[in-house]
Subunit: 244 residues, 4 copies
């Protein structure tokens, strides 16, 4: 594990943006899976400035790693891809042929597609206060899972979670399906590098637990300790528990 701590969100987001941009400078195809959500917002603001209208980045290919579909639109953009487009793909002007959506319709072939495309150079992810990463919430997936669908029956509160994500995405909770799809721990660990970013005091406790605590499925992100090329990007607030 390599650990990078910067003073605040602005500083660690700058590191993340520089680092992601650096990975794109290549003669050959580069495959990246990137996270939606709040954590990377500042990173994408900075990254958009670096990548927009840059023809020399046309060999960079993007994947999402989870998707929460809208009802009756399983083959199309769901919550994750909509968010990624808003935050990054659209302002950065990434051509459609460089974006490879994981959807509720194609998730069963996602791992095979990634392998055929040459595998992920890196996967850029966040972490939840409950220890989830990607769609791997406690009680939903197992360490050996590749890309899977997670059902509403997986947890007693999953129906509420699904509806709540719709509301957070600004649409009616009636659009919630009774499942979502996600790259499981095994699929995520198959990337050549895992870049985990966390910002803010609310993440301090789980960061300590996930990175230095017991590796167990109840704390899904704890598995990431075992990746040979794990890079952790934190602001000081998120690092509080591990620096003291």
């Amino acid at each position: 594990m390599q650990l990078i701590v910067e003073k605040n969100e602005a500083a660690i987001s700058q590191v993340a943006a520089d680092l992601l941009f650096g990975k794109m400078i290549s003669k050959h195809r580069v495959n990246l899976a990137i996270t939606a959500g709040a954590t990377p917002q500042k990173t994408y603001e900075l990254l958009v400035e670096k990548v927009k209208q840059k023809s020399y980045l046309k060999h960079v290919h993007y994947y999402n790693f989870d998707e929460m579909p809208f009802l009756n639109q399983e083959a199309h953009d769901g919550v994750t891809m909509t968010c990624l487009k808003n935050l990054y793909f659209t302002p950065a002007g990434i051509p459609a042929q460089q974006i490879h959506p994981l959807t509720a319709s194609n998730y069963q072939t996602h791992d095979a597609r990634l392998l055929a495309d040459g595998g992920l150079e890196a996967i850029f992810i966040g972490i939840g206060a409950d220890g989830h990463f990607c769609g791997n919430l406690p009680q939903t997936t197992h360490f050996q899972d590749e890309t899977v669908a997670v059902d509403v029956t997986s947890r007693p509160d999953m129906a509420d979670i699904l509806k709540n994500e719709m509301v957070k995405a600004g649409v009616s909770e009636d659009l919630a399906c009774d499942y979502y799809v996600t790259m499981g721990p095994k699929s995520v660990m198959a990337a050549q590098q895992v870049i985990l970013m966390a910002i803010g005091e609310a993440k301090a406790k789980i960061i300590k637990q996930a990175l230095f605590g017991e590796v167990r499925q109840a704390v899904p992100a704890s598995i990431l300790q075992l990746h040979p090329n794990l890079l952790v990007l934190l602001d000081e607030a998120a690092a509080r528990e591990i620096m003291s």
Copy 2:
């Protein structure tokens, strides 16, 4: 995971020897941790012929990944290093400065030393019918463990195991200590590549369980599924359960 199955022990050992030799051909330092035991015997027979008296391999550095010390000789060769010398280092004529013993005396600094040396390019390991790899027997280590000492109290049968290993090594059981040292799952997973070899029908069941079953500490080798660069070398007998 990349899976290579060959007809028999001779054929898969040839693949292993070629592959290990290929990794040694480099301008720069190459760090390898290699296994003792029965599984690699044929591989080392073949490899010795390739590497002995080869001055162009002087930048290849070797590490053992576990050690069972002899009583009152904790800083010296134990069961593992004695076996490695017999099988490989001595017949291959590897100079002492290229061999970096892990001992009962230095295990606490082993991970830091590996990191300072540039990390392991690859770790070549076997698997036990009980799912152990290196010294990670069920009930002895946890997934988050780095290089550790495993105590006689870890399992009810550990005292017997320790004595039995002495006998297998051809010495008195009175030489058994009440502990051994091993790279834990976290240390092993930190290698850039994990090469897992299994031969014979007795390994068929655990191979299926470890590589395609649930990832759990009761089957220590199941964690290896999650390494991004896991290479599995099997003969047909060991692959029987996964090929049918």
Copy 3:
């Protein structure tokens, strides 16, 4: 430059075969350009045994780096590909979809194709007593040349060379075209590794000149000194001038 010297042809061919086989063990596509001719014959004999009927090598892709077409058959196999098939592709049972012929018809798009395919992991070449490598004979190509056609007018003796190659290939000299195609120095140097093999006393003088002498177009192979990952495989006879 990394230099490997073995006692004789058998020993250095074993190193070459092991090394090439090692490069093929990968989860992802591996692109190799390999040489025809007399130098690699023993290597291919050994390599055929390692690769034939190995389904786990189906991601290995092969390219030739030059071609001398037969008259009126410019889009088909010429001297080089015929030789490669005889020595390696056919006995090894390499499927057609893993073989990507460079021909007199497609040479102008060869470099772009290699780039699109991800570039060459390695190019395995020989050297002529005149310092040529691939089809880069003295007076035919320039260091800055990519894949090009070399014309009969390039040298006073080129018509004879072209005819003679037909005779050596066992066909009528009437089948000679008035040109051949070859990857030029720039194309060869673009490979991530250059593996240069030479066997026998007749190569001793040029090996010294090419690897330790002046870099100049009159000795085309002298440019290879400047590749950051040049691996030179020699038997003692070919190394005689540089070991004394």
Copy 4:
């Protein structure tokens, strides 16, 4: 060759700084040789902000690739290292143990030291309007040269060049020695990546000539075309001749 063109100095310097910073994010030692002079000034201004007081970059090691010593101070900083300290090392607060000066006293062991240190991950260089790179001026070094001393007798105007460099460095021309030291073309090409940066219209002509013209010693930088991992960073003015 990978070519990146940005609108102006500010934009291409931003790419260079991001890229260099990205290379530094590693668990293991990273060796970089970096250029002094006017071209990288803006890059270093940006890079200093990224690297200063960053304890997570303590494994990044720096080398200069040429040096023009001050009279009677051959073992100490000359023009190049003085400039590098002013532009980068001092404002960035790089600890002395991460800086490995090439001097007039140690140049004969510089290549061996680089090899022992693991080789250069990248060398960041500029280009002169005369086609020079590092201290490889026309008529001073040959393509096959490793790190060498260039003598005042190499060119009729070398005495004036040496004196003039002193004046440009703000010291008396009396401090000029009658030689300087530089990594030669062979040493530079041994880096795993060459990053060539050029800014401004005055470089437009040589950029075309060096990157797309004949490879010959009279245009030293023309050899860089043949590096398998050459990255060229230009502003539009420097790219004018090759974009039209």
